[in-house]
């Protein structure tokens, strides 16, 4: 189908202003947060509401083109991109918070609501929605559910799947199904299909709305920042924190390379060069957490930190978080391209796998910085390179492959919160054997047998055949 025919067909499904087909318009949808890879879609549609989205989906099969759902596009795995061409469906029009049931600790939201919008709506009710990926100010709940997003505080609070009570999903045949709902059960179905929907990365259905579980806001938060001279001491602190009854909400780690990056930038905050930095947060009722502060500080000192700072004052806490928050933003400024991996490993293997990252990256001459959720064993090695140099991308892919092999060998997994997208799809055979892969692909076959929805994601075999 040529571009003019496609535009005409799409405009028959949606009002004119909601169909984008010119190259400059499409360029904004060619990549996700993994910016060095780009695939220009054939078109972008922006339905105004769920009705328009349903209208589009009913006509989508006839287009014979891939359909890719997209929220804010902040995914870090090559998820909401047109890897096989096709039409990107931007869900920014579906952004209503439809119901907030404060008594029942749940809410009903549309897929395009941003995490920040939800947070602001919940605040006056003394409630919060715990998953907090670092793209929180802009990322949408649709993207969060599709990738089962996590964040810094999911060590205690858990990831998106722990909070999704129900998913409303629009299938490619135009049928609309509700899996679960405010009660969080199966609903009228025999099986709990929402379990497949959460984390399915747009490969099974288009999500229109969700029912989410909420929690009362913690009364008090204490933030700790501690630096350590070596990885073994840092690891000892992490292990002690994980086992501690204070159940920290967050245990974040910056390695010396990340510390050096922050300290040589305008965001410098006085961290000792060469140090590992742990950022720890405990929260809860004031009476309880206030009594635990000295104990947590001592735990960090006992593990070998000579520099433990902590506070419950918002301004100081913000300063303690500064290096952690700044590090993510600096990556894009310092390097033409970067890729962030998302492996989860058993925590006993933390030092070993981190050393492998250093060894492999150093041997290949690729810069790496590590900023990650240490409490969960969720590594985020960032590899900084120049994608315009073909040999550099190859080197990064080789390091990533070696890393993932080791991750699987030590009993870990490929992704903890970013999803597989097309960035890690090639590694799936490391995790799933032939039978496991068949079971996995059966899920896609049940809901989207032709792989028209988001092809080439999660499993490489998922290619759309028009």
């Amino acid at each position: 189908m040529n571009a003019a025919d496609l535009a005409r067909q799409l405009r028959a499904l949606l009002p004119r202003g909601r169909v984008l087909t010119s190259a400059p318009q499409l360029a904004g949808y060619a990549s996700d947060g993994l910016g060095f890879k780009a695939w220009l879609p054939d078109a972008v549609v922006i339905p105004a509401d769920a009705q328009e989205l349903a209208q589009f989906m009913r006509g989508a099969v006839a287009l014979n083109l891939p359909v890719i759902m997209r929220g804010a596009g902040t995914s870090l795995s090559g998820g909401p991109v047109a890897a096989q061409g096709g039409v990107v469906v931007h869900t920014s029009g579906l952004r209503a918070i439809r119901h907030l049931e404060a008594n029942g600790l749940w809410c009903e939201v549309e897929c395009g609501v941003s995490l920040q919008e939800l947070e602001q709506a919940l605040l006056p009710h003394g409630l919060f929605y715990p998953p907090d990926p670092s793209s929180g100010p802009v990322c949408t709940l649709g993207g969060n559910v599709a990738s089962n997003a996590g964040g810094a505080h999911c060590f205690r609070y858990g990831v998106t799947s722990n909070y999704v009570l129900g998913v409303e999903a629009l299938m490619l045949d135009g049928s609309l199904h509700r899996f679960g709902g405010p009660a969080g059960g199966r609903g009228p179905w025999r099986e709990d299909w929402k379990r497949f929907m959460i984390g399915s990365e747009g490969t099974l259905a288009a999500f229109t709305r969700f029912w989410l579980r909420l929690l009362p806001l913690p009364e008090k938060i204490w933030t700790f920042r501690a630096t350590f001279a070596d990885l073994r001491a840092t690891e000892a602190a992490i292990h002690a924190l994980v086992a501690h009854p204070s159940a920290p909400a967050a245990i974040e780690l910056l390695d010396p390379r990340a510390v050096a990056m922050v300290e040589s930038s305008q965001m410098a905050c006085g961290l000792p060069q060469g140090s590992f930095m742990l950022l720890v947060e405990i929260d809860g009722p004031a009476a309880l957490v206030d009594g635990r502060v000295a104990e947590v500080a001592q735990l960090l000192r006992d593990a070998g930190s000579g520099d433990v700072q902590f506070s419950d004052e918002a301004a100081i806490r913000q300063r303690l978080w500064k290096a952690r928050k700044a590090a993510g933003g600096l990556l894009g400024q310092l390097s033409p391209s970067y890729v962030v991996q998302d492996a989860v490993i058993p925590k006993r293997a933390l030092a070993e796998v981190l050393q492998l990252v250093y060894d492999e990256a150093d041997a290949a001459g690729i810069a790496t910085v590590n900023i990650f959720h240490a409490g969960d064993g969720n590594l985020h090695p960032n590899f900084l390179f120049d994608a315009r140099q073909p040999d550099q991308l190859e080197k990064v892919e080789r390091i990533s492959k070696r890393l993932m092999q080791r991750v699987v060998e030590v009993g870990g997994t490929l992704s903890g919160e970013h999803g597989i997208g097309n960035d890690k799809a090639a590694y799936m055979p490391m995790v799933f054997g032939i039978v496991g892969t068949r079971l996995q692909l059966a899920v896609a076959a049940a809901f989207n047998p032709a792989h028209q929805l988001n092809p080439l994601k999660v499993f490489e075999q998922r290619r759309f055949c028009a």
Partner: protein
């Protein structure tokens, strides 16, 4: 371009305790005593018990939640992985041994409470939590209105994430609120003070005690899943017909004790049928270990058949 990665053998979980990560892999037929024996003196615990004499498999067949799910979430958040026997006889693993994963479709949570329809759990990987030296329990009594307003305060308290369970119980014509927590003896006074404070505000009487272990309520005969704001009303409606009802307020789950044997299947069926529509409307459901799952409709049958074809082909 490096060559494509080829499939390895199916990975399986090995039995054993990982003290650092707080995970334990053991047979699905293990009971509480065996879990405790494996954990030994390590300061760890698996909190989601309903019955000390029933296996983990029986727990999973009976309900998706236990009282301590109020703090730790349902079984699906606390069983990290399974060695799963397919109908074809092959064994493969579902899930992981790490605490978070978004690698592929979530067969683990899908299959966990599906009985034997898609296979059978051989081994489970449990997520363990730090253990302390004190189990506390509070019983709050008062008028129905006082208990209801107190329940609202409990659910909206910053302490909610620190209490193992917040339950509303009915038995022998009485109803009361029960709050259980697990923590350090040195902090017990803080928990007790907070609960006394709430009881006083709402005009409830309170009895506090330390227990050697959390109170267990037994496996339910019928489980009803609704929303937290409706579960107390549903419990009140069902209570006169049950030996005991347990409403887990945070998750809107109701466990009904109808006698604890197969003879109660008929009654469970009757209530499930009469309540199904109102539960389904809210995305809730019913489940009974004595009854078969409801028959799927045409749409769902198609999806199930696609999955089953892959399972049997395996």
């Amino acid at each position: 371009m490096s060559p494509a990665i080829t499939h390895g053998a199916e990975r399986l979980f090995d039995h054993g305790l990982d003290v650092v990560d707080g995970t334990l892999c053991l047979p699905a037929d293990a009971k509480a005593a065996e879990v405790r024996a494996h954990i030994g003196n390590h300061a760890l615990r698996f909190p989601l018990w309903l019955d000390g004499q029933s296996s983990l498999r029986d727990h999973l067949n009976a309900s998706s939640h236990a009282p301590a799910s109020s703090r730790f979430g349902p079984y699906g958040d606390n069983v990290l992985g399974m060695n799963w026997r397919l109908p074809s006889g092959e064994l493969l693993r579902l899930g992981e041994r790490v605490v978070k994963t978004t690698t592929g479709y979530d067969w683990l949570r899908f299959a966990l409470h599906s009985g034997t329809r898609f296979g059978r759990a051989e081994d489970l990987v449990l997520r363990l939590r730090p253990a302390c030296d004190f189990n506390g329990m509070a019983r709050l009594d008062g008028s129905a209105q006082a208990l209801q307003s107190c329940a609202q305060s409990l659910l909206h308290s910053p302490w909610l994430c620190w209490w193992d369970s917040v339950d509303w119980l009915h038995a022998s014509g009485q109803c009361w609120l029960r709050v259980q927590w697990h923590g350090r003896a040195t902090e017990a006074a803080l928990f007790e003070e907070q609960l006394r404070h709430l009881a006083k505000i709402h005009g409830c009487s309170i009895a506090l005690e330390g227990l050697p272990e959390a109170q267990l309520d037994g496996l339910p005969d019928l489980v009803l899943k609704t929303t937290p704001e409706r579960v107390m009303a549903l419990a009140t409606q069902m209570a006169p017909h049950c030996r005991r009802t347990l409403a887990m307020l945070h998750h809107g789950l109701l466990h009904l004790d109808l006698g604890g044997n197969e003879a109660c299947a008929m009654q469970a069926h009757e209530w499930a049928q009469s309540l199904a529509a109102s539960l389904h409307e809210l995305g809730g459901d019913w489940h009974s270990r004595w009854l078969p799952a409801r028959a799927p409709d045409i749409t769902e049958s198609k999806w199930i058949q696609t999955l089953e074809a892959a399972l049997h082909e395996a």
